[in-house]
């Protein structure tokens, strides 16, 4: 059959469809990013062609967060001679080919932070408004993934332009069109009709992935239990091990803390006000003249985890931990946020 290109349309496609979808995104002026195999893991990179694409999970190192929230950006420039403030915010066209459900949930969490309040952030909006997402459902569980516990995977059923789930035979994928743009990306492509068995395979694979999760965390009543467990001795145990390196917050897809600072050039004619990533983990994060609101490492480690598993629910109604497991992979001291949650709530 041939795809009409309508939202809600489903079909079964092969890998060759990826080439076409990627090419169409590029033709429309999007810089396309996806996971490639590199250094023994999946790393997020700009894609030239779909052949570079790896089906491995993006739980590589940095999450795709830097596309909509860059590590450093200029907010405005100030001409010291004329006194004029200039802020040029250009919309940015980027697309993600192969984002995972956990990272989509992280994106939705950041949408609430940057666009949901009284002061919608125009810098974030410029990168977020036109962001096609080709989502890959996860049919396998990684060692440290616990998306099924956090309700963020392994499958997604909203907020995608195209949704792709690998079926049983290699090279066969269930394609679901989620939007008008998604439809345009696949219109007129040759495909197979999606039959009942295909949907069953999709559901079975997703259920298996969830059932095989090697990391779990019961989230029922978790915020209250985490608050009650604020003084639990386990916090001391892990903060004694913790190196203070802030790897966890560096790779977290929902971390959004920032520094805002001014930078002037040598000739003293132009100052730029910039925003760059910061981390509540850093000792100087809470420093004010005459003191520091969070000086001890135990307080900062606890703040990080409490925010993800507890405080964010009070602020935004959702866990900011999306169970991607990156912080567990990259912690050199073997500290595990899911294990911490389980211990504090008494499940250990």
């Amino acid at each position: 059959m041939v795809l009409q290109g309508q939202a809600g349309e489903n079909a079964v496609v092969g890998r060759d469809a990826f080439d076409e979808i990627l090419a169409r995104l590029q033709e429309r002026g999007y810089a396309v990013y996806g996971t490639v195999n590199e250094k023994g893991t999946g790393i997020f990179r700009p894609l030239g062609g779909a052949g570079e694409l790896s089906l491995r999970c993006t739980g590589g190192t940095l999450p795709p967060k830097y596309l909509w929230y860059p590590p450093s950006e200029t907010m405005f420039t100030y001409d010291r001679q004329s006194g004029a403030l200039r802020s040029e915010i250009e919309p940015v066209k980027q697309a993600v080919f192969g984002i995972r459900p956990c990272d989509v949930h992280a994106l939705l969490a950041l949408d609430e932070v940057f666009l949901g309040g009284d002061y919608p952030d125009p810098y974030y909006r410029a990168r977020r408004e036109d962001l096609p997402l080709v989502v890959f459902n996860c049919v396998e569980s990684g060692d440290t993934c616990f998306c099924s516990s956090m309700g963020t995977g392994p499958g997604l059923d909203h907020d995608y332009d195209l949704l792709i789930t690998e079926l049983d035979r290699p090279g066969r994928f269930l394609l679901e069109v989620g939007s008008g743009l998604g439809g345009e990306l696949v219109r007129d492509l040759r495909a197979e009709v999606a039959r009942d068995e295909d949907y069953q395979v999709k559901h079975r694979r997703l259920e298996d992935a969830a059932a095989n999760a090697r990391t779990t965390l019961e989230t029922e009543d978790l915020p209250r239990l985490m608050s009650e467990g604020h003084g639990h001795p386990y916090w001391r145990e892990i903060s004694d091990k913790c190196f203070g390196c802030a790897n966890c917050t560096s790779v977290c897809p929902t971390c959004y803390c920032a520094d805002i600072f001014d930078e002037t050039d040598f000739s003293l004619t132009e100052t730029r006000r910039k925003r760059r990533w910061s981390w509540c983990f850093l000792m100087e994060f809470g420093a004010v003249h005459g003191g520091n609101f969070r000086e001890r490492r135990i307080d900062r480690l606890r703040q990080f985890m409490q925010h993800k598993l507890n405080f964010s629910v009070g602020q935004y109604g959702r866990f900011h931990c999306v169970g991607c497991g990156r912080c567990i992979v990259w912690c050199p001291a073997n500290i595990d946020i899911a294990q911490t949650g389980r211990t504090i709530r008494g499940d250990a």
Binding site: D259, F261, C280
Partner: protein
């Protein structure tokens, strides 16, 4: 200030700044100045008592500073004039201390929730320590302007010479406020007819009753902690005690993450909180 979709569609940027011109700089104490200001574009700067601006000296940085003037006073209404009373503590405030009338700096705001004056319908007890009197001064003027309830102000500072607004104290008293002052130690040689000691000691003389009043407190956190403790012992209900919390603020817009305490953002959910709301908040030691 951008607050609406419309503003955003017009391309306004909530992090962008508005220039203000300094009309006057008054030296209140060796390290505190009051700046009388007006927006350069001539419009009136509207705010509520207890709110703050992010004040910029571009090239050096920003500082979260409360407005210290009466938002509905004659000058405010007629000429759009407002004030900041600023203590020198760091890079930005030091740079501000070098400015004079005619100079300009930049602001964005107002941010924060402000003092709950509408709720304070009965008697009002105001307790301030050090520079904490500055964010309370707008509330004092609003009360004097028309509320028939009792107004008592307890104020303590390190020394009498460290108290800003001293020449206004008689004006407040004439307006009906009862003023109880104390200093940690008196200036040598000068006459100091008031108490020497901590602000908590003044609570013995307070006439406002816990049954019919509210308390607004602003000062160093250690002072707020002992005052809140003393008030609770005297039967003040925690819902009627309001404190102004300070945290490191950089954006004022709930995106930089620095001012979070448990699940509240001090920049918008505060800086004023009832003691009942923050008493059990993890990370607040009051």
């Amino acid at each position: 200030m951008v607050k609406s979709e419309e503003d955003l569609r017009r391309g306004a940027n909530p992090l962008s700044l508005r220039p203000v011109e300094i009309l006057d700089v008054r030296r209140e104490t060796p390290d505190v100045n009051t700046y009388t200001l007006r927006l350069v574009d001539g419009s009136r700067f509207r705010f509520r008592p207890g709110q703050f601006n992010m004040v910029s000296v571009i090239g050096i940085g920003e500082s979260a500073l409360s407005m210290s003037s009466d938002p509905e006073g004659t000058e405010a209404l007629a000429e759009g004039v407002f004030q900041h009373t600023i203590r020198v503590v760091g890079n930005v405030t030091r740079a501000l201390a070098r400015l004079r009338a005619g100079d300009r700096f930049w602001i964005r705001g107002p941010y924060g929730n402000g003092w709950p004056l509408e709720q304070a319908s009965g008697d009002l007890l105001i307790i301030a320590g050090g520079i904490g009197l500055a964010p309370l001064r707008p509330a004092i003027y609003r009360r004097l302007a028309g509320n028939p309830g009792r107004l008592e102000i307890l104020y303590g500072a390190r020394t009498p010479g460290d108290m800003p607004f001293r020449d206004e104290f008689p004006v407040w008293q004439e307006g009906g406020a009862r003023l109880l002052l104390t200093a940690d130690k008196a200036d040598e040689g000068a006459e100091w007819p008031y108490r020497v000691g901590l602000v908590t000691a003044l609570l013995d003389e307070v006439e406002v009753s816990p049954a019919r009043g509210q308390v607004f407190i602003c000062g160093p956190e250690g002072m707020m902690k002992s005052v809140v403790g003393a008030l609770s012992k005297r039967g003040w209900p925690p819902e009627e005690i309001f404190v102004s919390l300070e945290r490191r603020m950089e954006c004022g817009q709930k995106t930089c993450g620095r001012c979070q305490i448990a699940d509240v953002y001090v920049c918008q959910d505060g800086p004023v909180f009832s003691y009942a709301a923050v008493r059990d908040l993890l990370g607040v030691d009051l």
